[in-house]
Symmetry: C2
């Protein structure tokens, strides 16, 4: 009997290995059965502590693995990031999850629009965690979006500041100009525009916790007169502004709301304004991992560049610049994951072990998705028909004066 049972288990393990495309990973069950693809030394061992976790992973690969890992019923022995990277690279495609997950995605996501009420609930799910959780692994200014590393060795703190400056330069922000920000997180970018570029900013966010934090920051930095934080949906933005900026919100909007978002941008910047959309995207249309939309970002969708154009094309906006910062998001996530791991035991005592494992898998999986190119990060700068385009993009790359880097230099005319 033992050998029959062991044969069945090995057959199950082989099914998963085949579904993922034979990555160099050993798959093992606690009972003793194990299997590894031939030829290459396994990078890590994926251990299933019980048969139910294994069967669920066969039925719906991503959700089964995600849930099993979070609950501690599946372990990765070895380097989690290396194991995920191997799996992503051998994976036949992001559409290849089990039929059950595909059906679930189809039923739950495609027929469920992000209405005002659902958007509020989706945002609450993720962003209304207490700031002292995020403080443990984000940079000092609590910027929870892709940073911009002028060089790969830049610190996370510097790279988040560089990102905000990069965006302000793309927008050619000038003192006294008005900006509306849709989805402002804990307010760092709104405050940065006010403090360093003299902009007057109205920033929207559905997350109560984030708005409370941002208002406190504005008061502490003496910017409350220049920056107004509004706890509301982007669809309720009114008034006229020079600039529309949104960093990391489009992923939460959903394609069915793109026409509405375009309408909001159009009525906000009129015929002379400009704007920037910074968002997680794809090379080809595909839903996010069903585990991510179930546990981390309900209602989220990463559009292709073509899909994102549905926001801008109906209103005759001219796309001036698109930059893909995928490699910068992989680097950002390396920093976040490293800081997260340093605080893991503290976070476990604030929440519980399942929470820590869920977030570890989300951060590591995202890191790998950006590293191997499953996900992209697009910054799209656009201008209304009556807004003149800049002559070149050279101003985005200001020459760093040697004095700023180390030894002092002076320029002498010969």
């Amino acid at each position: 009997m033992a050998s029959v049972s062991s044969s069945i288990e090995r057959w199950w393990l082989h099914k998963i290995l085949a579904a993922i495309g034979y990555p160099p990973i050993r798959f093992a069950l606690n009972s003793g059965a194990s299997i590894a693809p031939p030829g290459r030394a396994p990078l890590a061992t994926l251990r299933f502590h019980d048969r139910a976790a294994l069967l669920r992973t066969i039925l719906e690969t991503q959700i089964g693995f995600g849930e099993g890992y979070a609950q501690g019923r599946i372990d990765v022995e070895g380097d989690l990031v290396a194991a995920l990277e191997a799996a992503y690279q051998s994976w036949p495609g992001s559409h290849a999850d089990g039929w059950f997950a595909r059906l679930e995605t189809c039923c739950l996501e495609h027929f469920r629009a992000n209405t005002l009420r659902r958007s509020r609930s989706n945002v609450h799910h993720h962003y209304d965690l207490k700031p002292d959780f995020y403080e443990r692994w984000l940079d000092r200014q609590m910027v929870y979006t892709c940073a911009y590393f002028p060089t790969p060795s830049a610190s996370l703190e510097d790279a988040q500041i560089a990102k905000m400056d990069h965006v302000c330069r793309k927008l050619q922000l000038r003192p006294g100009e008005t900006v509306v920000e849709a989805g402002c997180g804990w307010g760092a970018f709104a405050l940065h525009m006010a403090k360093h570029y003299g902009a007057r900013v109205k920033a929207f966010n559905l997350s109560h916790e984030q708005i409370v934090f941002a208002r406190q920051q504005a008061r502490q930095q003496g910017l409350a007169g220049q920056v107004e934080f509004v706890e509301d949906d982007y669809r309720n933005i009114t008034g006229r502004f020079d600039v529309f900026a949104s960093i990391g919100m489009l992923e939460h909007v959903g394609t069915r709301q793109y026409a509405e978002l375009g309408r909001v941008i159009h009525r906000t910047v009129g015929r002379a304004g400009r704007g920037l959309l910074h968002f997680i995207g794809r090379n080809s249309p595909a839903p996010l991992s069903p585990w991510i939309t179930k546990r981390i970002f309900p209602g989220a969708y990463a559009p292709t560049l073509g899909e994102a154009m549905q926001v801008l094309e109906p209103w005759d906006f001219a796309v001036w610049d698109v930059e893909n910062l995928r490699v910068h998001y992989a680097k950002t996530l390396e920093h976040w994951l490293e800081r997260f791991e340093r605080s893991a035991s503290e976070i476990s005592s604030m929440y519980d072990e399942e929470f820590v494992r869920t977030w570890r898998l989300y951060l590591a999986g995202s890191l790998v998705a950006f590293r191997v190119g499953t996900l992209q990060l697009f910054q799209v700068t656009f201008a209304a028909a009556g807004c003149e385009l800049p002559w070149t993009r050279a101003h985005l790359y200001p020459v760093v004066q040697p004095a700023e880097q180390g030894p002092k230099w002076t320029h002498v005319m010969s």
Copy 2:
């Protein structure tokens, strides 16, 4: 009777004025009737020499005006560019041509694909004019696409070289790499990549005249061993290359062939290559002016960025960079038109007056379309899934040493 006839003519003139949205232009018939919008001093007078030209312009605005102007039955008294600019800006929209033109576009363009045979005929129509015509108004290297002006005052010659270098930097072209170019014109870019970047280039073009010229250039410059010019369609490209480049061809491909073009690029660069598409585009989907597709570029269509993504998205190409060079195309066309006018009498003796007037209207109209934003110019750089993205775009903007610009500077450490 005279006053009745005059009233009818004034009513006709008013119909055109209304259709174009009341630009500050006087509309006049040779018989004496004239009309101008109230309030503003007219920038120019549009004179119809006969009623048939006027009626045709009422029936199908763009074709009627284009044909009438080319045949000398309509004249613009005053600055042609200023008059066209006023008309473009007051125009209710590019879709707003008469019902007859819309029907014609619908029947002729949408149901006519650019098959291999039709593409050959379309290319022959425009590009097989003798080089000594184009030599009169293009730069020395005969580059018939948008230039890149590092500053607005750069010369056309320098700006075309700067454009070719800008593209090579976007592609990060290295010595010994192989490039396939689809639609190579008179060969300047293929020769530039070989000469200055050490690339080995295979360049395709359907125009016999252009290929003959390009091969001659390759021999004269001693580059015939490094650059092969092939008189064939992009669909017949075979072999594997590091880079796919196409400057000014996508406009001639037609959206129905985008899937096929994507397939060609995919089989050309495989999983590790990269490429660049440089093309005239739109902010919102719309056909080109029906006069342009009738007289200048049969089969042409300028896609939106979203539409152009139909080439790349099915193959998982990562868009790394999009730049809009609209203002550079307006500047390029200013240079071309100025040079064209200087050679107009020569060109008239080579061809005839109708030819000169057709080309003048095409160049002036294109200049205005780019100036006011009816047309855009997109450069899209993309990479296959296995090709690493560059860290930043700073290398596109090399620091110009002050020594190259004027007075000499030396750097002294303090």
